[in-house]
Amino acid sequence: MAAATFSSLHHKISVSNSINKAFHPQSSPNLIKLPSKTPRPSSFNSISPKPTLSPLSTRPRAAADDVAAPATAFHGVCYVVGDNIDTDQIIPAEYLTLVPSNPEEYKKLGSFALIGLPAAEYPTRFMTGGEFTSKYSILIAGDNFGCGSSREHAPVALGAAGVKAVVAESYARIFFRNSVSTGEVYPLESEKRLCEECKTGDVITIELGDSLLINHTSGKEYKLKPVGDVGPVIEAGGIFAYARKAGMIPSRAV
């Protein structure tokens, strides 16, 4: 059950009924059509596109003031990690001098995502040297993902590297909370130990409306836990957007 919840102010907007549901469960893994709600030129990932960099030194993220289409599905190749992947493995401390709200440094953070994973256990690396984004856009993990530090650089590095969603058996609380607050990665929980069912390189579709993960490579489908109370915050694009919607804080000064 998703743990951090932000629902106290608002009627719940569950993901499944918020938008025209544009897809249906897959019967054949080879025929994948995933129309997103608003057409995107190159990607199935229907989180609102990152706005162009503003002259401000801060990096804009999914802005609530823009008309954002909440995500309804993710599709991509997955990278699989085990239990207790801590924040030092996600983004080692030596890279924490990079300030996530600075656009250039945000991008650099992405290039170091998961660089701390020991080579012996993870011979296939998440990023190859010189890249800023990874070919893996879905992360599948075991228990207690993101344990350790409160560094927001962890979900940020993953998001900057192109990870759209993490599917873990369970999360450490600060990482989960940071993922929701920032809107950088969509944190999902699986019912089963998917880190044992999936392999790095498998082609995956996640259908949020049905809480379903489809492994096209193995042909298997798995139930995910419903997003629950954090749904509205994630949908809104993070805690600021959510708080604005709730009238808790005024609209952002332009």
Binding site: M1, A3, A4, T5, F6, S7, S8, L56, S57, T58, R59, P60, D83, N84, D86, D88, Q89, P92, A93, E94, L96, T97, L98, V99, P100, S101, N102, G116, L117, P118, A119, D143, N144, C147, G148, S149, S150, R151, E152, H153, E169, S170, Y171, A172, R173, I174, R177, N178, S181, T182, G228, D229, G238, I239, F240, A243, M248, I249, R252, A253
Partner: protein
């Protein structure tokens, strides 16, 4: 082998815990994060623990006030509600927000972006900004990050900013602030944020303290709600002074028995984490009570609460008492009102420990819950010892290490790095007499034992940091002044460190192949003397 003290009536830990969660004694709206069953079996050797016993009180009707735990009460008061139950989400008024050089710039960036470039923080006296992580380094970005903090504090007229300008000499201006007129004096620099918060009187019973650092939970030692948050949440607090928090259920840890003189609070928390695992307290509060806890000093209580996050805990609390008030006497003039768990408060689980039966512990690589008896690791050859950090770099931690070196009278066999957490600790190391030494200071004892000279106070190598960080585990070379001559150099296994820090995940102190054994200052000092992981009773009994 320690004698058994397990209560026979209980079922296994796992079954007991599963039975406790999500049943009728809590309101239907609550939802708990149920940590998965531990993958590891409870060590059969640690037998002084009784199985957790749940406290079940009968359900009450909605109109009757039910007993609350300390954490529930603090959050209730901070959210101006008469009653709270675990699982509820409330907007909480924040008493203190702390940030440092690693997360401060990012939090400030978010604050400005979301509230406007000219926005003002919600309260210039409730923000405490403490550069401590990457200070004594030539890394330009790290230095720039301290500058960013300074610019912001000037702009916002922040009252508490423990600045550092002269990176070459942390003491510049501290000892003789009126005489040192150099432009780059450091009259304000403190060091490690969690220790500085306590020493500067920012921790008060009953309050809510949030920090952009996972070990913010340390402050729970003062009977307050203290937890770590990320940049975005901190940016939100900067503008509003509030945050949406979910009320955690509480695990209670009752520790009784006289503390043996070879044990420290670090051993107690390693015991607990080994018991419940690194996710055993996820989304929960950990409350520490009992006669042993009451006998602990404030610094020892801080050590206990410091590693709550290593069990996944949201926050840790220790009820305020005479020890707390005494500590605070000369440190804060702000009024505070302590809160305590009701007698009929409902706890998710209760664990009881007979401390007199515990033995010195380590957490073996690569997890804080990889618990083992120190004496069972005596064949583990080590390469270095690190004594420092918010966990094990406080004044009493150094006094403890000095006690072991004094008892031995010999020299260390491996490079031994000492990093006082704050400038106050550093001064104590150089001025406090060590009991039984005939008036010697810690620093003298350390020097006689052949340790490295105590370094400038900061987080140091606890988390690796920039490559030039003192005592960082880089390649198979010792940094510092101690020249290590080894007969065989095995680069893959030559990075074994016994450390008084808080995490030992792969790469934590730098090199990915580094092997870190977490231990108390007693155990760390004993290990330095032998060159192997060593039970401190070798020297203390």
């Amino acid at each position: 082998m320690a004698s058994a003290a397990i209560a026979s009536s209980s079922s296994s830990f796992i079954n007991q815990r599963r039975n406790d969660v999500g049943l009728s004694s809590f309101s239907p709206n609550t939802s708990f994060y149920l940590s998965n069953a531990k993958k590891k079996m409870v060590s059969k050797n640690i037998v002084s623990v009784m199985a957790p016993q749940s406290q079940r009180t009968p359900s009450t009707t909605g109109s009757v006030k039910t007993g609350m735990t300390m954490t529930e009460k603090i959050l209730a008061r901070a959210s101006e509600k008469p009653q709270l139950s675990p699982g509820e989400n409330v907007w909480v008024n924040v008493d203190i927000l702390m940030t440092h050089d690693v997360c401060g710039p990012g939090s400030i960036g978010i604050f400005k972006k979301e509230f406007g470039q000219n926005a003002k923080v919600w309260d210039r006296e409730k923000l405490v900004i403490i550069p401590d992580h990457y200070i004594f380094t030539k890394d330009e970005r790290a230095n720039r990050n301290v500058d960013i903090l300074r610019d912001f504090c000037n702009e916002q007229n922040i009252k508490y900013f423990y600045d550092i300008n002269d990176l070459g000499n942390f003491k510049a201006g501290t000892f003789f602030p009126h005489h040192d007129l150099t432009p780059h004096a450091n009259p304000d620099y403190k060091g490690v944020c969690h220790v500085a918060l306590a020493q500067e009187g920012h921790c008060r019973p009953g309050e809510v303290l949030l920090g952009t650092d996972s070990h913010t939970c340390t402050a729970g030692a003062f009977g307050q709600f203290a937890t770590g948050i990320g940049n975005t949440d901190a940016g939100f607090v900067l503008g509003t002074g509030k945050l949406l928090l979910k009320v955690p259920p509480t695990l209670r840890f009752v520790m009784d028995g006289e503390m043996p003189d070879y044990l420290l609070a670090k051993d107690l928390i390693l015991q607990i984490i080994g018991e419940i695992s690194v996710s055993g307290a996820t989304y929960k509060s950990m409350e520490f009570v009992g006669s042993t806890v009451e006998s602990l000093s404030m610094e020892e209580r801080m050590t206990l609460c410091n590693m709550v996050v290593e069990a996944g805990g949201k926050n840790g609390v220790i009820p305020a008492d005479a020890t707390t008030y005494k500590y605070l006497e000369d440190k804060t003039s702000l009024p505070y009102e302590a809160l305590y768990s009701d007698e009929k408060a409902r706890f998710l689980s209760e664990y009881r420990f007979d401390i007199s039966k515990l033995e010195p512990l380590v957490a073996k690589p690569h997890s804080p819950d990889n618990r083992a008896l120190a004496r069972e690791c005596k064949d583990v050859k080590i390469d270095r010892v690190y004594i420092g950090s918010c966990t094990g770099g406080k004044t009493e931690d150094f006094l403890a290490a000095a006690k072991v070196f004094l008892a031995s009278g010999k020299k260390v066999k491996v490079p031994t790095f000492l990093v006082p957490a704050t400038q106050k600790v550093w001064m104590d190391v150089y001025s406090l007499p060590v009991p039984g030494s005939g008036g010697k200071t810690c620093s003298q004892i350390f020097e006689e034992a052949g340790c490295d000279t105590p370094a400038s106070p900061s987080c140091g190598a606890c988390l690796g940091g920039p490559k030039d960080t003192y005592a960082r585990m880089n390649e198979a070379q010792a940094s510092g002044t101690f020249l290590q001559i080894r007969q065989e150099i095995n680069t893959s296994s030559s990075l074994v460190c016994v450390s008084t820090t808080n995490r030992n995940f792969p790469g934590r102190m730098g090199h990915k192949e580094g092997q870190i054994y977490l231990a108390s200052p007693y155990t760390a000092a004993a290990s330095a003397l032998t060159g192997y992981v060593t039970d401190p009773r070798e020297f203390l009994q």
